[in-house]
Assembly symmetry: none
Homo-oligomer: 210 residues x 4
DNA sequence: CATGAATGAGCATTCATTCAT
DNA sequence: CATGAATGAATGCTCATTCAT
């Protein structure tokens, strides 16, 4: 699996919609060849089979997300602010690449079976959040929770499922606005929760209220 | 797709792990036949093809979830309490059936392409939450949000991804305890949020505070 | 590789000429399917791939030869007489199945790479001769030689190459007569040699004549 | 097919073992490239395809054999003596080049389908013997046989199969000694036969003795 | 009803060969 | 001259599905 020439790489994106629509197994290499204009044998010359096509496309998406989130996370604001930025960043990239996202969800099983992708997946989606949760406790901007890893997972789920859903809806005219709207809704949820404000907090492991 | 004789139905569950592990496309009917002990042709006699196997398995899971959540939701407590119950109920069923859950995620793409399943998916996971959000606003137990459908999606994501993750981890010795722990963490997140208590609320679309 | 139903087995012989003509690598499974009337997938249902087709055909030939030679060899005549009978028997079978013989030669390399065939090859062609050589020394009908295994090899070569050559020439109208003619010529060679009768014997390891 | 630069020619021999082991069809040009160190495209620059590689290697072997046998045959000794010399010469070359020999046998089918090779094959192996048989009858050193061409074929078979077998056994430490041993055994066989000396001669077509 | 046997349709992958540099 | 890159053409094999019993 040599490094792809830039031209081929860009052509290959033409396959994303196909794969998003039908799943990788439902997509013949021949279809990919047609959709991208790259001859079948040339795809095989550069990539190690069908999985590698998906791997290439998703790696790229995951890199973009990891990159954007990485930037968002590395400001010197407090963790809560950075979490908000990270949510926005991730949603922006996701909405920017709806086909890749759909391909990712549609072939999530396969993606997790590809070791490289599984790692990239964790690194892009889960780890920054986990880190932020820790940071937030340290700088006092986020409260401590009883089960940080489950919470990180849930936050990851909250963001990702919303983003995915937006991606599945099909292209939207104003992605930035969408991203902002989603981002705002999600941050409202994960930062302030849904309980009515005057209520007593429900804290995990909290003693039963009298 | 006649109703399956009970014996076959139960044997068929033996295929869940296989499908969870390899995805439906990576699983030959022949493999399913071997794993379940049901002869290939007999599977075809009772079910309309490979997809129908997945459909059967997942319908069942979805029904179980919908059922459990349905029960949880129909108590006469306030919406917030019912939401907590729903979360717990969903997680319990998911943890009780880790292979089915993994099969579901792994073939999410296909699942959403099968109309019946897509519907059942919505009905089991999304709709009860959406309803609860509305109810909560009405009975004052949950606060109003600017974008209820996005929030419902996120809540759904928070619960589901956490549950899925638990399912992927492999069977746990004490599923009920796990479910409780997860449930508690998730409710803490979606009801109270992560922001430190003394902070001003970040409310979506709220006017800047002076 | 289940046991072939008799009908298929017989149809399969229709592929012998093809393979003889073009070699196995030059013969597509599809060609074999056409030539035999057996659908491609059915061939695969019964046999483990292309090699197995050759293996089946040649095993059969080898069995026939081993059988005929076995019968010839098990009379209670002296070894020399039995050798003559064995030569005749081998040639008869070879001439009776020219295509199989040509297939065998044409794909000799592959045949020797298929362990089962390599064994059958030895058993059909080489071992009976080796045995006869030993027997002949014991019963006094054949002379002792310095290097029995090389001689056995050579005798095997003398018979086989002649027979093969006849097979390659294409079908002859009177195979039995051919076999007799070849048999007679070969026996004359291997029993009496080519040296003129009045000459001193050239015996291996014999001291140089003065 | 230009004349190969000497260096390439010699590198090309590195492919003989490969081809001997797997057959030509089982050997990718790429494998040959790797084994010889000659880049794939360079092979194509100098030779007309895969067959030409085999043709080159085998032509060479055949030329060597034809040459050595030619020398052996052109002494002015009697035919019988020259036959002995020819046998020794042929075996020497064969044992000197075991891989080429195995490649030859393994792809005998293909070799006979390449017209140039088929001719060279005859010229190297068969014709000198045939000639010697005729010469021997003329000079009285070999007896007349009823079916000279069959006998020539058998003699060719006796020599070649023994030689091949030696080649297949793998490299031997002392090839010259091997050749001498084989040669002696084979000459004993084809000149004096295996019948015990005191026996009546079995002469093809000889009238029954009273 | 259940199923062993049979097969049509499909497709990923391979590889010999070409060609621009 | 030599060769890395590219590809057209080919094919072995798989597997979901059917059907006769």
């Amino acid at each position: 699996m040599r490094k792809l020439p830039a031209k081929l790489a860009s052509q290959l994106y033409g396959a994303a919609e196909l794969i998003a629509e039908r799943g990788l197994d439902g997509t013949k290499i021949e279809d990919i060849a047609e959709a991208t204009g790259i001859p079948k044998a040339t795809i095989y010359y550069h990539l190690d089979g069908k999985n590698a096509v998906l791997e290439f496309l998703l790696s790229d998406l995951l890199d973009m997300i990891a990159g954007a989130v990485g930037v968002a996370v590395s400001s010197d604001a407090d963790a809560r602010t950075r979490l908000e930025a990270a949510v926005a960043a991730q949603l922006e990239v996701m909405l920017e690449h709806p086909y890749l996202c759909r391909a990712l969800v549609g072939d999530l099983g396969r993606a997790t079976r590809l070791p490289d992708l599984a790692l990239a997946l964790r690194a892009a989606f889960y780890e920054p959040i986990e880190q932020l949760l820790t940071d937030g406790v340290a700088d006092g901007s986020l409260r401590e929770v009883a089960d940080p890893s489950v919470v990180a997972l849930s936050v990851f789920g909250a963001i990702t499922v919303a983003g995915l859903s937006a991606a599945v809806e099909g292209p939207s005219p104003d992605k930035t606005a969408d991203a902002a709207r989603f981002s705002s809704a999600i941050c409202g949820l994960i930062l302030d929760g849904l309980a009515t404000a005057d209520d007593n907090m429900v804290v995990a492991d909290a003693p039963p209220r009298p």
